[in-house]
Subunit: 345 residues, 2 copies
C-alpha cells in the first residue's frame, strides 16, 4: 500500500507537506504543490481512511438504520436507502447500511466503535426506542419520519395527516359524499408507525371538515382477506362512490378486487392513492398524493449533516430542526364525479 511517506519521498518533500497539499489548510508554493500533486497521481495515492479517522474522529460515514423486517420487505425502504445514499454523497458522506434487525444494539455498536458520524433512522415509530438510545449515547441522528416527540431529534416527514385530508377534500370537491378510506395495515397501525397513525387521524378529521361521510377501514397484508374486506366495504347500504387508498403496496390487488366486484375505475368508483412512491402506482395512472422521496431524502441527510456540525462545534443545545412537507395533489386523470351507482343508494 502506498502511504503519504511514499508520496513525500517521490516528490522530495516532507510528509507534512503532502498533507498540507491535500488538506489545503495552509499555503504551499505553486511549485511544490505541482510536484506533490504529480507524485500523488503517479502513485495513485489515496489517504487511508482509518488513519484519518483515528486522528480526526470523523468518519464521513452516515449509518442508515432500516427497520427490522417484521412484516416482510417494503419497497419504500429500498427506494429511500438508494436516494439517501445519493444525497449523502453530495454532502461528502458514505452510507453504512444497517438492517437493524439488531435494533438498538446494532446502533450502539456502530456509535461506540466510531464507525459513523451520525445515524439516520428510518421507519420511525411514534415512541421509538432508538431515539432514546441516540440521545443517551450523545450520537447525532436525524429521523426519516415523525415520532411522538417533535423536539427530541431533527426529523422530516410528509404531513400525513394533511395528505389524508387533502385526498378526501379533493374527492369531496368533485362531488363525492360517500367516501371510503382504506388505511395502512393493522400491523403498521399497531406498531405505531407515525405515518399510519397520522394518516388515520387525517382521514377522520376530513369528515367534519368536508361534510362527507368518510368511513375508515384498516387494511391487511393478507391479500385474500383484503379482497373480501373490499367486497364488504363496497356493498354497505350506502356504498362509497370514492375510495382513498393509503395502503399503496396493495394497490394492484385492491384494483383487481374492485374490478372483480364489477366496478370500473373511475366511472363507478373514483380511486385516489396516498403516499405512493413516485413512478410506482402498480400499473394505473390515478390521482394521488405522492410520497416526496427526493425531498425527504435530501432533508434528512441535511439534518444529519447539521447535527454533526452542531455537535462538533459543541454549541449550546440548538433546538433540532425539522421539515414537515406539505402534501401535493397530483390530479392524474381528472377525478370522476360520483357515478350512476350513487343514484342506487
Amino acid at each position: 500500500m502506498t502511504t503519504i511517506k511514499d508520496v513525500a519521498q517521490r516528490a522530495g518533500v516532507a510528509p507534512s507537506t503532502v498533507s498540507y497539499v491535500l488538506s489545503g489548510s495552509r499555503k504551499i508554493s505553486e511549485d511544490t504543490r505541482r510536484t506533490v500533486q504529480q507524485a500523488i497521481d503517479e502513485l495513485g495515492y489515496h489517504p487511508r481512511a482509518s488513519a484519518r479517522t483515528l486522528r480526526s474522529t470523523r468518519t464521513n460515514v452516515l449509518a442508515l438504520a432500516l427497520p427490522r423486517v417484521a412484516g416482510g420487505y417494503r419497497a419504500v425502504d429500498g427506494r429511500f436507502a438508494i436516494e439517501i445514499s445519493d444525497a449523502a454523497r453530495a454532502h461528502g458522506y458514505d452510507v453504512l447500511l444497517m438492517t437493524a434487525q439488531e435494533g438498538v444494539p446494532g446502533l450502539r455498536r456502530i456509535a461506540r466503535s466510531g464507525q459513523a458520524d451520525a445515524a439516520i433512522l428510518m421507519a420511525v415509530e411514534m415512541d421509538d426506542p432508538r431515539i432514546a438510545a441516540m440521545l443517551e449515547l450523545g450520537f447525532p441522528a436525524a429521523l426519516l419520519g415523525r415520532s411522538a416527540d417533535d423536539a427530541a431529534l431533527p426529523w422530516t416527514d410528509l404531513d400525513w395527516e394533511a395528505a389524508a385530508t387533502l385526498a378526501v377534500r379533493e374527492l369531496a370537491a368533485a362531488g363525492h359524499r360517500d367516501i371510503a378510506y382504506l388505511a395502512t395495515t393493522e400491523r403498521e397501525i399497531q406498531a405505531q408507525r407515525g405515518y399510519a397513525i397520522r394518516g388515520l387521524a387525517g382521514a377522520r378529521r376530513a369528515a367534519p371538515e368536508t361534510g362527507a361521510d368518510v368511513r375508515v377501514h384498516q387494511s391487511t397484508g393478507d391479500m385474500a382477506r383484503l379482497a373480501r374486506r373490499i367486497g364488504t366495504l363496497l356493498h354497505g347500504e350506502r356504498p362509497p362512490t370514492a375510495l382513498v387508498v393509503q395502503h399503496v403496496a396493495a394497490l394492484p390487488h385492491i384494483l383487481a378486487a374492485v374490478a372483480a366486484e364489477g366496478l370500473r375505475v373511475p366511472e363507478d368508483l373514483a380511486v385516489v392513492a396516498v403516499g405512493n412512491l413516485p413512478d410506482d402506482l402498480g400499473g394505473q395512472d390515478l390521482p394521488r398524493v405522492e410520497l416526496p422521496v427526493p425531498e425527504m431524502s435530501a432533508a434528512v441527510t441535511r439534518l444529519a449533516a447539521e447535527a454533526i456540525a452542531t455537535r462538533t462545534q459543541g454549541t449550546s443545545p440548538t433546538p433540532p430542526g425539522h421539515l414537515l412537507i406539505p402534501p401535493a395533489f397530483v390530479p392524474g386523470p381528472r377525478i370522476a364525479p360520483p357515478g350512476p351507482r350513487a343514484a342506487n343508494a
Copy 2:
C-alpha cells in the same frame, strides 16, 4: 471517549492484557480475565474501529455497488441491498452502500482508501468495466449477476437462460403452441445486462426445443408504447395463447393492457412471469419462475467473504468460485390450457 488504556487502568493491568482478553488470542488467567471484563462492562468500552483497522488492515466492511440509476429506480436493487446487508452481518461484516453513479471512480476511492475489505457488484453487465477495475486494484470482489467472463471474478446468478426456457417448456407441456415472450426492456438489452441477454437466448432456444412457435418481443419502459405493443402482439394472424413476461416490473401494466384487449387471464391467455421478486407479483397469483433473492444474496456474500480470506492468505490464485442457480417453477394456479381463442386462429 473511553479507550483501552482506561480499561487497563481500572482493571490494574496493562493495555495489552486487555487486548488479549478481547481477542482471546492468548491465554489469560481466569482471575484477571474477570477483572478486565468487569472494567469493560462498567465503562461500556468498545474498541475504536479506526484504530483496529489501521493496525490490522481489516475493516469488516463490504462495499455494495448499486447500479448507476440511468433507467430510474428498480425495486429489485433495494431488495437485494437489504437482503445482502443481513447476510453480511451473519458473516460479521457491515455494508457500505455505493450508489455508484460515480461508477468505477467511486469503487476506486473505497478500495484505495481502505474503507472496505471487498466489493459486491450489483447489476453486472456482460462486459462490465468495474470487473477490470477490481482486478487491476487487486481488490477482492464478488458479482451479483453473471458477466461474459465466468473466470474473472466469483459470481452468482439465476440461470436466466434455463429460466426462460423452463417457462416456455411448462407452457408447451400444457398444450400451448403459440407463445409470446416479452423480454426485458430495450434499454436493459442494449446495456448488455446479463439477465437480459441470457433471458433472450433462453427464449429463443425454447422454440426448437419444444416445437412451439415462440415469438420474442422486447419491452419498453414507456407504458403507453408498451400497451400498444401488447395490443399488436395479441392480434397477429396466429395470436398467442400464452405469454411469458420477463419484464416483471411492468406486470400490472401488462395485465391491464391484456384486460383492455378483452382477454381474460388465464382463460384466454395464460401468463407466466420470469424473474419476479418473491412476494411481489403486482397483484396477481401467476405461475412463475421467481428470482431467488435470498439464495443469491447469501451466495454473493459468502463468495465475497471467501475472496477476502483467499487474498489474506496470499494463497496461489484460487480459481474464483461461483453458483449458477437452477430455476424453479412455481405453478401458482395451474397453467390453463389453450383457450377457445386458439380455435379462431
